[in-house]
């Protein structure tokens, strides 16, 4: 990349020619304020908080979108520029509720932070609030529309990153607002509950439904046995909520905190992830041997499942019938575990800590009751768990590490990597290879399926067969592969699809704000966790062995089918 010369506030800098002014300023140590800009999204330049003066231009330009060019002279801190930014913020604040202290985003709100940075001490304009009723009918995503500031990040995330098209701007001028399609409620649209809109929302306008109160009550109730499971991606992200560096691996602190909160048993979704590999791996082998529908597509990501049911229901036969690890865990907790621990299943509540908002939807799907009860009772996001830890006054940074309970807490490195895009694929290949060839896989790190790219392809030799695989993350990337399948242009055997950018580490329930750098750090931590594990292949997990011996008998067996597999429903894409 060629460098060009640019003058910022009278000082000269050399920056790559493909930089925006914002990036150039960042390099020069000037943190220009942004609101509608988000590193994951196409710049829009509409909030005008990042405007700068460019010599020779009549009006100010948005630095987030304006490319640098040779000899450009930029001023970021003139009176006019500062006045313009402050006025823009004042105008936004004048249409924003003044109830920070009771807002979900209090102390994590970008608008609040900007108001402090701008030293906003007075809002001249009258406070004009539209009368909106908070919408939480979906049971997953809550829209507090009066807090929306029209930055449009959610719209871009929904349309461009996820291609779900459940949100759009309506009306125009000062009446402009973001609404779900056709002014319906979110659950009446194509929304997949992926929560990407939440992760990019700068204010409290979009957030998940807070279900911590219910969990506190269960914990308090001596008659209820509360079991908690934590998804693979939580341990690499929860630290961010507690003020640690992104990618801080906090598995043991997490377990310690959960015990302090008062959960009766602290288990690990990783256990169920290993189980998923056994079931899904055998399903793939079965399809390969018996001319089943190929390519087979993974089914761990509930946002992806709803997306598929809505837009690609013709591909239902391609999707693995395996439940997601969370649901496998729930079904086993209320059957296998209660049997072993001799507890009344009706008194057990299963709480999941998930990086995901769609999991809240998944656990409430009517078919997820194979244990005779609702398999998973409630799902909390990473952020909700962080809230609980803060309320409990637990000093996360200093808490002593602890280990998961047995047996549903024993897992392998193959399960740990479920949290990153490509992880399910890698875990499955580790097992399938050894089951098929009966020889040990020497190089266990299948690096060709790792990484942040939206679409990855690889061919892996398993015995005589060259297994062709594809991995996508982010639903608009999934579309690319799915359209290829529809057109008959794809000859993959196995496809992993994750709903969120980067996989679960970029999930809709993860700490905010998120960015590609943060997701990268979380992903690195995931593979570090894998490396540190003694066992790194699902079929070597002794607890899984015992499970099959004591309870399930065999992969894809009758009991497995009853408890661990599911079916899908076609949904209307034009609701």
């Amino acid at each position: 990349m060629k460098n060009i010369n640019i003058t910022i506030d009278g000082k000269e800098y050399q920056v790559p020619e493909n930089y925006t002014i914002l990036e150039a300023c960042k390099q020069a140590g000037i943190e220009i304020p942004v609101l509608c800009y988000h590193p994951d999204l196409r710049p829009e330049g509409s909030c005008r908080l990042c405007v700068v003066e460019i010599e020779g231009m009549r009006t100010f330009q948005p630095s987030c979108a304006y490319p640098v060019n040779e000899g450009m002279k930029v001023k970021t801190n003139t009176k006019e520029v500062r006045d313009a930014r402050k006025m823009a913020l004042e105008l936004i604040l004048s249409r924003h509720p003044q109830d920070c202290l009771v807002c979900e985003r209090n102390n994590s709100c970008e608008l609040q932070k900007l108001a402090a940075e701008f030293n906003m001490t007075d809002i001249y304009f009258s406070n004009e609030l539209p009368a909106f009723k908070t919408e939480d009918e979906s049971g997953v995503i809550v829209r507090e529309h009066q807090k929306c500031i029209n930055c449009g990040r959610c719209v871009r995330a929904c349309q461009e990153v996820q291609s779900v098209n459940a949100l759009e701007f309506f009306n125009r001028g000062y009446e402009k607002l973001v609404l779900p399609t056709g002014n319906k409620k979110l659950h009446e649209t194509t929304c997949t509950y992926c929560g990407q809109c939440i992760t990019v929302c700068p204010t409290g306008a979009l957030h998940e439904r807070d279900e911590t109160d219910m969990v506190w009550n269960w914990i308090e109730d001596p008659n209820i046995h509360v079991v908690v499971q934590t998804a693979p991606a939580i341990r690499v992200s929860i630290g961010e909520e507690m003020g640690m560096e992104p990618g801080y691996l906090s598995t043991e602190k997490l377990v310690g905190s959960l015990r302090k909160l008062g959960f009766d048993k602290v288990f690990d979704t990783d256990f169920a992830a290993d189980l998923t590999i056994i079931e899904e791996g055998h399903e793939l082998l079965h399809r390969l041997k018996n001319n089943g529908t190929l390519p087979m597509i993974t089914s761990c990501s509930p946002g992806w499942i709803k997306f598929m049911e809505t837009f690609y229901s013709d591909l239902i036969p391609n999707v693995s019938s395996c439940k997601s690890p969370q649901q496998m865990f729930g079904a086993l907790a209320k059957t296998y575990y209660v049997e072993k621990a001799q507890i009344d299943a009706s008194k057990v509540k299963v709480v999941s800590i998930m990086p995901c908002t769609a999991k809240k939807y998944e656990c409430n799907r009517p078919e997820m009751k194979d244990s005779g009860y609702q398999d998973v009772d409630v799902v909390l996001t990473t952020r909700e768990l962080a809230k609980m830890i803060k309320i409990a006054g637990i000093n996360f940074a200093e808490i002593k590490g602890e280990k998961y309970d047995a047996p549903l807490g024993i897992s392998t490195g193959a399960a740990a990597i479920f949290g990153a895009s490509g992880g399910v694929m890698e875990a499955a290949l580790r097992t399938v290879y050894e089951v098929v060839t009966n020889t040990e896989l020497e190089n266990i790190d299948l690096k060709m399926v790792r990484g942040m790219e939206g679409v990855k392809e690889a061919t892996v030799a398993v015995g005589n067969l060259d297994v062709k695989v594809a991995i996508t993350n982010g639903l608009s990337n999934a579309r690319k592969i799915l359209d290829k399948i529809r057109a008959g242009e794809a000859d993959y055997h196995f496809i992993e699809i994750m709903c969120c950018p980067g996989g679960c580490i970029g999930g809709g329930g993860q700490p905010r704000p998120t960015s590609p750098d943060k997701r990268k750090a979380r992903m690195d931590a995931i593979y570090c966790e894998d490396c540190n594990m003694e066992l790194r292949k699902s079929h070597k997990n002794p607890a899984i062995d015992t499970l099959y011996k004591e309870f399930l008998k065999e992969p894809l067996g009758e009991k497995s089918h009853h408890l661990l597999h599911t079916k899908y429903t076609k949904r209307d894409s034009n609701v």
Binding site: Q159, N165, E168, F169, F170, R172, T181, G182, N574
Partner: protein, 154 residues
């Protein structure tokens, strides 16, 4: 493919799937509707035909003032209130329409005949103040003329 008495399928077929036709399709379908609007079912059909996601379609119809997703009267009275009309007494004319029809701007009469709307300049400034009733234009208006104009519409 009829919907609210509009043969949507027929109208859609007049247009190639080529991009750039949406605005005219919307005009055509709305104009064919007796209630001067595009219903939700029509929206879905347009979405299917144009391959434009429904959310974006609603975004479009809510952006342009000429389109409506809510039922309107048989006649939509669009009253200009821009400066050239304003300085020559548009406000009195608008009030006269409001009084005569007994509805507020933005509302439809109970018999479903008239809808009153404000609008920006109609380009009829030479005969200001002016209104448009569906596709007819009326200019050089005075408040006392309103009654007769309304009477012309069945």
């Amino acid at each position: 493919m009829t919907c609210c008495n509009v043969d949507v399928g027929k109208i859609l077929k007049e247009y190639s799937e080529e991009k750039g036709n949406l605005m005219e399709i919307l005009h055509k379908i709305q104009n064919s509707s007796k209630e001067n609007y595009i219903c939700d079912d029509c929206m879905k059909k347009i979405s299917d035909y144009t391959k434009l996601p429904l959310n974006k379609l609603y975004g479009v119809t809510s952006f342009y003032t000429m389109f409506s997703n809510k039922k309107r009267g048989k006649y939509v009275i669009r009253m200009c209130e821009s400066c050239p009309c304003h300085v020559l007494g548009a406000e009195a004319v608008i009030n006269s329409f409001v009084d005569e029809l007994g509805i507020k701007v933005g509302e439809t009469t109970k018999d479903g005949k008239f809808t009153l709307e404000h609008c920006a300049c109609l380009g009829l400034c030479a005969v200001a103040p002016a209104v448009m009733i569906n596709e007819d234009v009326h200019g050089n208006l005075k408040p006392e003329m309103v009654k007769d104009i309304i009477a012309k519409y069945e």
